[in-house]
């Protein structure tokens, strides 16, 4: 489903020097996989994620999504892809303040041609166990709850691909495991999931671990024994 060919990304610092964030990364991800991208800070994993999520364009190389070369698409078509095919969960949530959970979740649907927006949003929030907080604003929700709203938003338009940048970074252990468990069940239901984490334990719940080091792929291993999150007794 995802094919990255020789992807490179160079930034210009304000002083004028170029910074190579990604150097010649090639990667293939099949439909239905659960991939974790790990690396230290500065390894380029966020940059890679942005490119996969069509949030940024590579400086070099090609990116095929679902067989299509998306690097050559125009802005509008890319936006369409982001709307229909990709769901992105940001590290800092990026929820609209002063907007209810329900309204935040329905945001992607506003830009689509779907009809029954309210229902779909409500169901998405129910799926992340926030049915009782749909009218709450981000400032009235805990970090974990905000993260779940962000996930609901990413999923509301039923995309094939779910991308998450450090989804458990701000969560306590219980919430983190709940989130991973959710990802696992989504994956079992057929969704392709790619997430970034610096936490080895979280990564171990995925089916495949790709390690980045200073902009290049250092390793790419399948997880031999997939762990399943145990639901601890409430």
């Amino acid at each position: 489903m995802i094919e990255l060919q020789n992807i490179g990304k160079t930034y210009q610092r304000p002083s004028g020097e170029p910074v190579e964030a990604l150097i010649d990364v090639s990667l293939q991800i099949e439909r239905g996989e659960f991939v974790a991208i790990v690396g230290t800070s500065g390894s380029g994993k966020s940059t890679l994620m942005n490119i996969i999520g069509l949030l940024d364009l590579p400086s070099r190389g090609r990116y095929f999504l679902g067989g299509q070369d998306v690097t050559t698409l125009d802005g509008n078509r890319q936006a369409e892809m982001r709307n229909k095919k990709i769901g992105f969960v940001f590290q800092s949530f990026h929820l609209l303040p002063r907007t209810t959970a329900l309204e935040n979740v329905e945001l992607p649907l506003l830009y689509s041609d779907r009809k029954s927006i309210r229902d779909m949003s409500r169901r998405a929030l129910e799926a992340v166990n926030l049915a009782d907080r749909i009218r709450h604003r981000p400032s009235e929700l805990s970090g974990g709850q905000q993260q779940r709203v962000a996930i609901a938003r990413a999923l509301v338009n039923e995309p094939d691909l779910l991308l998450a940048d450090e989804p458990t970074g701000n969560l306590d252990r219980q919430s983190a495991l709940e989130v991973v468990s959710m990802f696992q069940s989504l994956n079992r239901a057929g969704r392709t999931i790619v997430l970034i984490t610096h936490d080895r334990e979280i990564a171990s719940y995925a089916g495949r671990i790709v390690k980045l080091e200073r902009g290049s792929k250092a390793s790419d291993d399948r997880v031999t024994e997939t762990r399943v999150v145990m639901q601890e007794a409430q």
């Binding site: 069509l54 802005g75 936006a79 369409e80 002063r98 907007t99 945001l107 506003l110 830009y111």
Partner: protein, 402 residues
């Protein structure tokens, strides 16, 4: 429909961010208010200035005088014997005459007790104040009944009052003009000296009928003044007046009419000059108001948009296309401009009205200014509010989100 959905979403967002929305509206509000105020107050000030200048120079009046032209034969030659009816006829037949006042004059002595003064007596109609733009500063003037009944009432000039009454109030007192007793009913507004060096305060005004029949024993008048609706028409009207008068008095072409008709040549030139000054002044000041309003407006809008680059990035990340962003911001801008603009017009107009009252400027007319203000706000709104948003929409979402 997707557009309607996005529209109502935008409006909901605007309501949530009351402060930010208020700021955007504030920009439009200020711009429009400033412009409305400046232009309407300016317009009425301009009108007032021209009014005052016209007052100073001389209003849009034509003066008809018997004599003052070529002397032919005897005292009044073969020329016309001008009558009040002649002037009335002109006022009726010539379009563009606002008002008129006939005139007859003689110089004689006025007595009160032991004091005497030699002054010029003017006989005029009850409309003399409007037509000559001079009024009775104390007391009253006479009305049409007084004119009809040849009343023996007089309005004396300040010099006459001083000569005859010293510092006492002359109103109500009895005086003798020539051999005829009159009652003083008012004191003339002081005009001072005229270009000939003649003391215009040494005059007395009485009803024209009284002067003609009781003092001068004449049935003709010595002249008249006509007020025009449009000062620029004075030359054309002068021609018409002469034609009518010659016709009424059966003069054949070539026969001198002994009439002098004077138009306000210099006046028009001066008023024209002043008009040109105000012509430059007002638009200049309006342009400045526009500029200031525009800059502040743009400032507030730009600041608002700057704040929302991350939001724009997020929407793009979720799937908004560039035109969705553009639609959203266009809508927001339109609403803020209309709301802010309406508020601005109201406040600007009220302030202009208030200042106009303080400065005795007369009526205030805000519509042109308001229209200009709204158009300007719209332009500023698009340039400062929509274009930056669209530019932000063109960024890669990752950049915008940073």
């Amino acid at each position: 429909m997707k557009a309607i959905r996005l529209a109502s979403h935008s409006m909901r967002m605007m309501k949530r961010y009351k402060l930010r929305t208020s700021f955007m509206m504030l920009g439009s509000f200020i711009g429009v208010a400033a412009l409305t105020f400046v232009v309407s107050a300016g317009q009425s000030a301009e009108r007032k200035v021209l009014e005052m200048v016209t007052q100073m120079f001389g209003d849009s009046g034509i003066v008809i005088r018997v004599g003052g032209g070529e002397d032919v034969g005897g005292p009044r030659g073969a020329g016309t014997r001008l009558k009040i009816d002649d002037i009335a006829a002109i006022a009726k037949e010539v379009p563009g005459i606002e008002d008129w006042d006939p005139m007859q004059t003689l110089t004689t002595s006025i007595r009160h007790g032991d004091a005497t003064d030699n002054a010029q007596i003017f006989g005029e109609s009850e409309r003399w104040q409007q037509v000559w733009n001079r009024s009775a500063s104390r007391g009253d003037s006479f009305d049409e009944t007084a004119v009809a009944s040849l009343a023996r009432v007089a309005i004396v000039g300040p010099t006459v009052a001083k000569e005859l009454f010293g510092n006492d109030d002359p109103v109500g007192a009895d005086i003798q003009i020539g051999a005829v007793p009159f009652k003083v009913i008012g004191v003339l507004e002081s005009w001072g000296t005229d270009p000939h060096g003649m003391d215009r305060d040494n005059e007395v005004i009485v009803p024209i009928t009284t002067l003609m029949h009781r003092l001068a024993h004449e049935d003709t008048i010595s002249g008249a003044k006509l007020l025009l609706k449009d000062p620029a028409s004075s030359d054309a009207i002068k021609v018409q007046i002469r034609k009518i008068l010659r016709e009424r008095h059966g003069l054949s072409p070539g026969q001198p009419d002994g009439l002098t008709i004077i138009t306000p040549t210099e006046v028009r030139r001066m008023v024209g000059k002043v008009q040109r000054v105000m012509f430059v002044y007002l638009p200049l000041v309006a342009a400045i108001a526009l500029l200031v309003g525009g800059i502040v407006s743009a400032t507030l809008m730009l600041a608002s948009v700057n704040e929302r680059v991350a939001e724009i990035g997020l929407r793009r990340a979720i799937g908004a296309r560039a035109e969705d962003i553009r639609l959203q911001f266009l809508m927001e801008t339109a609403i803020t401009i209309v709301a802010g603009g309406l508020g601005g017009i109201t406040v600007g107009f009220l302030v202009a009205l208030f200042s106009a009252k303080q400065m005795h400027l007369g009526n205030v007319d805000p519509w042109m200014a308001a229209l200009l203000g709204i158009v300007a706000s719209a332009v500023v709104g698009v340039i400062a509010g929509v274009l930056p948003a669209v530019r932000a929409a063109r960024l890669q979402p990752a950049e915008a989100l940073r």
